[in-house]
């Protein structure tokens, strides 16, 4: 997936919505660069419900713990358990192999609040 084609949350998660209303969610390259030295990631269970704006997991670096926030509403239908043991490679392909969860959308309402790539780049430039 190309970063230009994705939607972004203020909290640095990216979203790709497929034709089947399944949203794939990951963490942006910018956020990974800010986090650095990841040591642990906790994923939700398949079948759990994700709620837009609420934490679905957490990621821990040597320095600190950060929540992962869901940008969408729906049921979690898949979680990428392979990356948990390969956190150091997350940054190699954050928009592909580094996806974190897939959510079957129960509503598309939350998508309206997300940013396109240009708006997200602007936010990153302000934070950097």
């Amino acid at each position: 997936m190309k970063p230009e084609d994705l939607l972004y949350a203020e909290t640095h998660e990216w979203v790709h919505v497929g034709d089947d209303d399944v949203a794939t969610i990951g963490i942006s390259a910018f956020a990974l660069e800010q986090l650095t030295d990841l040591v642990f990631m906790e994923l939700p269970s398949v079948g759990d419900m994700a709620t837009a704006g609420e934490a679905f997991g957490e990621v821990e670096s040597v320095k600190a713990v950060s929540n992962l926030y869901s940008p969408v509403d729906g049921e979690i239908i898949d979680a990428n358990t392979e990356i948990v043991d390969n956190l150091e490679s997350l940054g190699d392909d954050p928009y592909g192999a580094g996806w974190i969860i897939k959510v079957k959308l129960s509503s598309r309402d939350a998508l309206d609040k997300l940013m396109d790539h240009a708006a997200y780049e602007k936010q990153c430039a302000e934070e950097a």
Binding site: T36, V39, F40, V62, K63, V65
Partner: protein
């Protein structure tokens, strides 16, 4: 506090130009990391890590009674120790609560005139300066805060002395551990070079004029490239000191904690001397009911952080004061305080880690000791 109001060290421009991620630390703009905490940590364990520690408070005391005066404020004997000696010590209140942990230097300048130096935590600089002024009264002792007119650089790691040595008038590898001298560094006169640090590695610290700090840093950094020296930020400084089980003020130490429960008996000298807090400390030495500082290793990969409660059989028996994922040991490590009955190495406890219980074991400190 906005960035513009933060104090800047003489090395601020270097940090910004070299990718330092600047944060507010005790009112100073300081680099938390440049590239990766783990890389900077490992460089310090295997080669050299260079730390800007100019934010720490630096005081100078002069006059014939300076040593006796400082001695009256600190838990450890510092008066009449030999010239060149440096002592880790504690400044306590009358009730034994720790106001700061400090280094006291007994040095002689290039003309042989003796004086005492003190390095205090950045976060406690004003508090300790006020405390000193209060105790000083009208005694005829010179007391100057030199923090803003000087810089301080820590060069730490197994290759530190071989790189810094040739750049100094007095080679720090000829100095014993915890001693120092006034000498030239990179051609600048009047620098203090000491074999001290806060990482658990051998190495040295240099105190110099603010004007020469950037040049000295640059010269050591360039010389160190041949052995893999890296600039290291506060993030690596924290993981390094934690592995070495060195307490950090505001975490393992504070005004509600006394030196005995903190396990700092080596820094308490009671015999034939008086100092503020002595009577309280005598009492704490006999009190076996107080919580004590311990080290913990956790199962799993999740690190416990400051504030997590320590439990046994569902009862809270203590609290974590610092924690991280140890880059050297590759497991989560913590320090904290527990009820004395749970402090023996090997004791199994649980840590309430953000709502989930993790198993942990009390272990001997330090977690890491250089070979």
């Amino acid at each position: 506090m906005t960035t513009e109001q933060l104090a800047q060290t003489p090395l601020h421009q270097w940090h910004v130009a070299n990718g330092g991620r600047m944060v507010d630390f005790a009112g100073w703009s300081m680099p938390v990391q440049y590239t990766s905490i783990v890389d900077e940590h490992n460089a310090t364990r295997t080669a050299i890590g260079m730390f800007d520690v100019s934010h720490m408070g630096r005081f100078v005391f002069t006059g014939p009674d300076a040593g006796a005066f400082i001695d009256s404020l600190t838990t450890r004997r510092v008066n009449n120790v030999g010239v060149g000696k440096i002592r880790y010590s504690l400044v306590c209140r009358e009730d034994g609560g720790i106001l700061d942990d400090i280094l006291v230097y007994h040095l002689a300048d290039s003309e042989g005139k003796e004086f005492y130096g003190m390095v205090v935590n950045a976060s406690n600089r004003e508090k300790i300066a006020d405390w000193i002024n209060q105790q000083l009264g009208d005694q005829d002792i010179g007391f100057v805060d030199k923090t803003l007119e000087s810089g301080m650089i820590a060069v730490q790691g197994p290759k530190a002395l071989e790189i810094v040595g040739p750049l100094c008038g007095t080679d720090p590898s000829t100095l014993k551990y915890y001693t120092g001298a006034i000498t030239t560094v990179c051609g600048f006169d009047g620098c203090c070079v000491s074999r001290t640090g806060y990482t658990g590695e051998d190495g040295c610290e240099i105190i110099c004029d603010a004007d020469s700090a950037a040049k000295i840093w640059d010269e050591i950094f360039r010389a160190g490239q041949s052995v893999g020296a890296k600039a290291a930020g506060l993030g690596a400084r924290d993981t390094l000191r934690l592995e070495a089980a060195m307490p950090l003020y505001g975490h393992e130490l504070g005004e509600e904690i006394n030196p005995v429960q903190a396990g700092l008996n080596f820094a308490i000298n009671l015999k034939d001397r008086e100092f503020i807090g002595r009577q309280a400390i005598v009492g704490f030495k006999a009190d076996e009911s107080q919580q004590v500082r311990v080290g913990l290793k956790l199962d799993g990969r999740r690190a416990a952080r400051e504030g997590c409660k320590i439990q046994s059989g569902g009862n809270v028996i203590g609290e974590i004061t610092s924690g991280t994922s140890s880059p050297t040991l590759q497991c989560p490590i913590s320090m904290g305080y527990v009820e004395p009955g749970f402090s023996a190495p090997g004791t199994q406890v649980q840590i309430d880690n953000r709502g989930k219980l993790a198993d942990a074991t009390i272990v001997e400190l330090p977690f890491y000791q250089r070979s």
